[in-house]
């Protein structure tokens, strides 16, 4: 826990300054989770504010301060899911933005070494996000929380209010799909590299 139970109790009873302190303690972690889940840096703060807005208006439904963190993660999962669903609806129009944003990111990186590092990171982000895009929004979020955020099954159980076995099955299936897509991508890259190699040889 990043805050004392007493602070949560105060926020629950309507103390805005206590709520402010909670947001300040958790915002960076929540923004990080959102960033890795939705994969669009420019919308991370917007979704993060939505999470804390929902927290503000649902704190009175929190049974005990002990379950605060799973509660906050559940709100994060729901906000990220809503965002991804909206995003899917306007996916076509957004495809052009993505490349612009990547160009801007690359331009912003000063110096060739830094630019190379940024390009490598951008490639990893692109690859991971495209693989995670192979599964449904719900599974994408679940897989990100488990594999990238490193949450345990026990923690996920509390967040989703679903038993561990059901989560294991969902995670296994989602991971298998991602793994299959990863393998296919590696194979196609190997083939295209081999193709390039043979073209070079023939020259």
């Amino acid at each position: 826990m990043l805050v004392e139970f007493e602070l949560i109790e105060r926020a629950r009873s309507g103390d805005d300054s206590a709520f402010n302190q909670i947001v300040q303690a958790y915002r960076k972690r929540i923004l990080g989770t959102i960033s890795r889940t939705i994969g669009r840096p420019e919308d991370v703060e917007d979704v993060g504010q939505e999470v804390f807005l929902r927290l503000y208006y649902s704190l009175d439904q929190l049974r005990t301060p002990e379950v605060f963190e799973p509660w906050l993660y559940r709100l994060t999962v729901n906000a990220a899911y809503d965002y991804l669903r909206r995003q899917r609806r306007r996916q076509e129009s957004r495809m052009s933005d993505l490349s612009e944003q990547q160009v801007m990111l690359a331009d912003a990186a000063a110096g060739s070494k830094r630019r190379d590092e940024e390009q490598r990171r951008t490639k990893i982000r692109e690859l991971a996000q495209s693989l995670l895009g192979q599964v449904s929004e719900e599974d994408r979020i679940l897989l990100t929380l488990k594999e990238v955020e490193g949450l345990s099954l026990k923690e996920l159980e509390k967040i989703y209010s679903v038993n561990e076995n059901a989560l294991k099955v969902r995670l296994f299936r989602a991971r298998q799909r991602v793994l299959k897509a990863f393998g296919a991508r590696e194979n196609s890259e190997a083939v295209s590299k081999a193709g390039l190699g043979s073209a070079d040889d023939s020259e």
Partner: protein, 108 residues
């Protein structure tokens, strides 16, 4: 086949770990807190205005009901009361007529 699968799993784990490092927790902008409070306030105002709207609707409905009761239903009740008194009068008048008939030795 199992070995290939295992290697694939390991490479995927490595990719997820790299992805985690490639996306560090972002620093919130200076505008994060003010914007969040603005949104909270906007929601509060919207909720209050919804309540106000419903309260207005309730007041209007109450007024309309009052007018309906005062202008239509009460006069109607009064009218009914008036007709019921004239009915009693008519009844007593009929009874007295029977009594007169009886006294006169007419048919029962």
């Amino acid at each position: 086949m199992d070995r290939m699968q295992h290697q694939g799993e390991k490479r995927l784990d490595a990719l997820f770990a790299e992805y985690r490092m490639a996306c560090p927790d972002p620093e919130p902008s200076a505008d994060f807190m003010p914007s969040m409070w603005k949104r909270i306030e906007a929601r509060r105002v919207a909720t209050v205005s919804v309540f106000r709207h419903w309260a207005q609707i309730c007041v209007m409905a109450t007024l309309a009901l009052t007018v309906l009761i005062g202008g239509v239903l009460i006069p109607k009740f009064q009218e009914n009361a008036a007709s019921s008194s004239s009915y009693l009068e008519a009844l007593s008048a009929e009874h007295s007529a029977d009594y007169i008939h009886m006294l006169a030795g007419g048919p029962r």
